[in-house]
Amino acid sequence: MALDSKIPAGDLQQKWEDYKNHVKLVNPSNKRKLEIIVVGTGLAGSSAAATLAELGYKVKAFCYQDSPRRAHSIAAQGGINAAKNYKNDGDSVYRLFYDTIKGGDFRAREANVYRLAEVSVNIIDQCVAQGVPFAREYGGLLDNRSFGGAQVSRTFYARGQTGQQLLIGAYQALERQIGLGNVQMYSRHEMLDVVTIDGKARGIIARDLVTGKLERHFGHAVLLCTGGYGNVFFLSTNAMGCNVTAAWKAYKRGAYFGNPCYTQIHPTCIPVSGEYQSKLTLMSESLRNDGRVWVPKTQEDAKAIREGRKKPTDIAEDARDYYLERKYPSYGNLAPRDISSRAAKEACDDGRGVGESGLAVYLDFADAIKRLGKHVIEERYGNLFDMYSHITAEDPYSVPMRIYPAVHYTMGGLWVDYDLMTTVPGLYALGEANFSDHGANRLGASALMQGLADGYFVIPYTIGAYLSGEIFTKAIPTDHPAFVEAENHVQTTLNNLLSIQGTKSVDQYHKELGKIMWDYCGMARTAEGLTKARDMVRKLRAEFWQNVRVTGKADELNQDLEKAQRVADFMELGELMIVDALERNESCGGHFRVEFQEEGEAKRNDDTYAYVAAWEFKGIENNPVMHKEELKFEEVKLATRSYK
């Protein structure tokens, strides 16, 4: 099937306006007859479910947590971008659009990004109306802060809990619709397959996680708002339950997967402390405003620190390598995420890492404390310093923080057209689950913006284009053979997992997979390493299906089985990420291929690789087939990102 991105004709600035003026509408009495399934209740899912219900559609919403309010969006700290230009500092829709395209290393679709920048302003209005307590100035108006990759102040925030407050706003809007009877909510439910009938998405199979019972749910359309898949690496800043299952089942039912290898690795996270480590904690990007990143100049000093013979404060000023300041004098410690992460890895690979494991660098506030006083630093970052000392039992005011990069976000995801529809008619993907507007690298504070843009302001319009053609489709009874087939398929998979009764736990396999992905498909990738890794993942997957031990039964609350099911999908996704990384013979954004660099910096190849790689499933033992969506840049000129 040829890819049609359905980008409307006309000027970039006019496309969305024209689209809205001409898209087909569904009249209110017909809306009542149309059922929509929304899987996921993060920012994308909650906002979509609430808004579609307000419009009069019949909505069913699903999440695996015990409450829709606990979706992973809750954990976002920093803020949300919007082109309000409240600071009068020269911001505009165009600038937000341009920064996002450039930040994404020119691998995103112009029309979508422009629309995102346009609706960003409505998001802030909507959130304030719902009671989101954004930070304010003494005059009572909204405050802003700055984030990486921009020269203007356009980030709105609610202390260090922006994601929490935005999600609670959307969750309350959703609960209101639940209370009114317009949304039926299914918490502690996990979607385990998409049901397609005559090529269209017509429902899902979900497992009630309390009783273990499989359920069939019909919908005229299905929206996947199921978040990112960073947990394929086992360790990441994502919540423990984040997974690829929903997107993966959709892929196996015919939805193409876009740019699976694009992963964002965040430079400032608390390093791994032992084998038992279950997740990694992010330390906000804002710390790099005042903290200086360094490692010892010599391997001897680093070794002495690792063995506890020296303390960081014993290392004299001229024996330290402030490598970001040295390599990127104009951006210094504020170099972008992908670049800072790679530089930390290089230093540690060179034997100059610190901490017990040698996989850490210092983020040092001594100079800032000397210059500004401890109280200023405390005021700016007190909560983060507390969090750090909570976890590490070290005092960052007197000893430099130890940090290391960690997997944080996945730019890749289900391929969608301008309407956010996947290649399966009636199946949509919103938020981090789609291949998104962020190209090969996402800017800080733009994921929250995208999730809410998709849910509040895009899908309510674009879904009309499809559902207006479905008004004569009656609800399909769930004893239809396609539902039966899908349910049997899920049941068989679960039974298989339970029947293996091998010797290794699910977590052991997940950790092994994560290590392969991190070593070969992480911050630095080579054709040789990726080729080897593909083989390793295949072997591990085969072993998993021979030797995993899953305890308990299918018809009960069984967290071991839930995890096994998710890891089984990660085992398949991992291979696709590797295939995609291998195919893209260039370096761009979060995808760094060691063979493609110039003086140590990423080297893009616009002539050959200015496209979205959309992969089609052809059976798990066969090679997937790649379809290209050529990216046409009509508005911006492609340029090299330089931060030197």
Binding site: S47, T51, D66, S67, P68, R70, H72, I74, N122, I124, D125, Q126, V128, A129, Q130, G131, P133, F134, A135, R136, Y138, G140, L141, L142, A158, R159, Q161, Q164, I168, Q172, A173, E175, R176, I178, G179, M185, S187, V210, A239, M240, G241, S273, G274, Y276, S278, M387, H390, T392, A393, P460, S505, D507, Q508, R549, T551, G552, E556, L557, Q559, D560
Partner: protein
């Protein structure tokens, strides 16, 4: 540094089954492990012996989603102040210690399995009125309504609630007043929330009662155990809101 500990954990197969405390010995626990990582290690050992791992709720493991919910040595979220179970580290315990772990207990939070409880009552309280009715698309410009900074800050203090239910678990009456009052305060403190404030307070309190939560007798155990430091001053505000609303309203919601 490592330690050996004894765990006494509530095991209950499902909502209908009877539960009991079961003892486990766990050795070589690193002081740098989080409490939930310690539970992971225990579960790995149980799985390797072919036994059922302990079911417990958790997700973000950074103290913000409100999913984790253990009652540790007689305290909701354990001995450390202002922290959730997932933010608790083993260095807070000593070698040789016995640690008792139970689910959050309350009539409004029935046990589903082991340490997992059903907190959906909280969602139903929000659905009853814990929102501002502002359908998408109706909003005016965000800066059209200035909000006094102090009010915005207090609203944010109340809105910081993570809905974990520790307040209920800590209260001898299993009252949900801190949770409900935090939401009522968050919305009542903002001008956007004023039009519905009476209806909201009445409806949320009515739903809270219907869910079987107990009444508040001002022991303030909730505030002491709240991982986010939500203040009992919110309860006083809720009482005022409720009283005002009841005096004026002719018809209490059913």
């Amino acid at each position: 540094m490592t330690m050996n500990i004894k765990l006494r954990i509530w095991r209950q197969a499902n909502a209908q089954a009877e539960g009991k405390l079961v003892e486990y010995q766990l050795n070589d626990v690193s002081a740098n492990m989080s409490f939930l990582e310690m539970m992971d290690v225990l579960n790995e050992q149980l799985i390797s012996k072919g036994e059922a791992p302990v079911a417990f709720d958790h997700d973000c493991r950074e103290g913000i989603c409100g999913t984790c919910s253990m009652y540790i040595n007689g305290r909701a979220h354990g001995p450390q102040k202002l922290s959730t179970t997932c933010q608790l580290y083993m260095r807070n315990f000593t070698d040789g210690e016995t640690i008792t772990i139970e689910p959050f207990r309350a009539k409004g939070f029935p046990v589903l399995k082991d340490l997992c409880v059903d907190r959906s009552a909280f969602d139903r309280i929000i659905a009853a009125g814990g929102y501002i009715s502002a359908s998408t698309g109706q909003a005016q410009d965000a800066n059209a309504i200035p909000v006094e900074k102090a009010a915005a800050d207090s609203a944010m203090d109340a809105a910081a609630c993570i809905g974990c239910g520790a307040c209920v678990a800590a209260c001898k009456n299993a009252s949900a007043m801190l949770f409900v009052s935090a939401k009522v305060s968050h919305l009542a403190l903002l001008p956007q929330g004023h039009p519905e404030r009476k209806k909201r307070a009445l409806a949320m309190v009515a739903q809270m009662d219907a869910e079987g939560f107990g009444s508040c007798t001002n022991t303030y155990a909730c505030e002491a155990e709240c991982p986010k430091g939500i203040s009992v001053a919110n309860i006083a505000r809720l009482n005022r809101e409720f009283l005002n609303a009841s005096l004026i309203s002719e018809e209490m919601p059913k």
